[in-house]
Symmetry: C2
Subunit: 190 residues, 2 copies
């Protein structure tokens, strides 16, 4: 008789979603991965796949929010704070190659349900970086675009790394992130 905690199930589902996407992941696949019968899965998650997705999105927020808060803690210098955050992102995305839940859930019909949460969370991510850049002396307008571009660079690098099978692209995006936010050399908008 197999057994698994809610947390273990969600971890397995997270891996599947990141690899195969929401629509590409079936309850049968989750059953196989967790070694639990489908009925057991519905015992833990009466709402099925949708509930699993919603709980994973919530966990995504639970991972991000405190770390974005920490970015605002003025006890240490901005660059140091960003470096900590970047290294946490590295483990979170498992060094690239694995796919991102944001990207996985961004495909699919618009009545996706969790799209608003994803949007809010990504905006929170961006604005935390923007605020940090601004505190470091970057003009407000520029700080916002830098933060947007930085998140785009990270997400894009994750995708490109995955497609061409070279995680060094993502690793470099992580390394360059501080300069994208604070660097004086950045081209300004014309």
């Amino acid at each position: 008789m197999a057994t698994a905690s809610r947390q273990e199930i969600l971890q397995a589902v997270l891996e599947l979603f990141r690899e195969c996407g929401y629509e590409g992941t079936s309850m049968a696949m989750i059953s196989e991965r967790t070694k639990l019968g489908k009925a057991s899965l519905y015992h833990h998650f009466p709402g099925g796949k949708e509930q699993m997705r919603d709980e994973l999105v919530k966990l995504l927020g639970d991972w991000f929010r405190p770390r974005l808060e920490q970015l605002k803690d003025d006890a240490t210098p901005p660059r140091g704070r960003v470096k900590v955050f970047i290294s946490e992102l590295d483990s979170f995305f498992e060094g690239g190659q694995r796919g991102c839940l944001f990207a996985a859930l961004a495909v699919g019909p618009a009545e996706n349900g969790c799209r608003i949460e994803l949007k809010d969370l990504m905006n929170l991510w961006i604005s935390a970086l923007a605020e940090l850049a601004e505190k470091s002396g970057v003009p407000a307008n520029d700080a916002q675009t830098r933060a947007e571009d930085c998140v785009a660079q990270l997400e894009g690098a994750l995708l490109v790394s995955r497609i061409v099978g070279d995680k060094s692209i993502f690793k470099r995006a992580l390394r360059q992130a501080p300069d994208m936010l604070f660097g004086s050399s950045r081209q300004l908008e014309s």
Copy 2:
């Protein structure tokens, strides 16, 4: 009695794939969008959804390849060539907001079939930009990373634009692309 050419069908399927992904798009959805019965779709594409996907990937290559070739045409200055290419990318991605076939087909089980083609095509894209940067005087090593980062920035901006519902992020990525490739101000690897 409805009627539609192969090309019209593929156009509809492309839109659906970009919006809903491969797994998220059903033959029923394609049938509804094209106003053709499912049997008619199988008449045109005996291999079903998989064949449609493979033909779309081929069309993706048919769009990219000649334009990447044109990037190598030394008749005009590099920056001019890139500007033309960038403006074509703009229409190709419909100004952001719509999702990218690369990204849509990057999710899903690894036995995806078209993953090798997508990888080759993206590598071709990268190496064309790298070659161009090198011709403009950028050192070979740096040219390769600039090209990778540039494609990542574009793809990431497309994703972030889509998620937060602000296409200006993608528009800016397009505008900044030339400087990412040629700009002297870029931070070098340490």
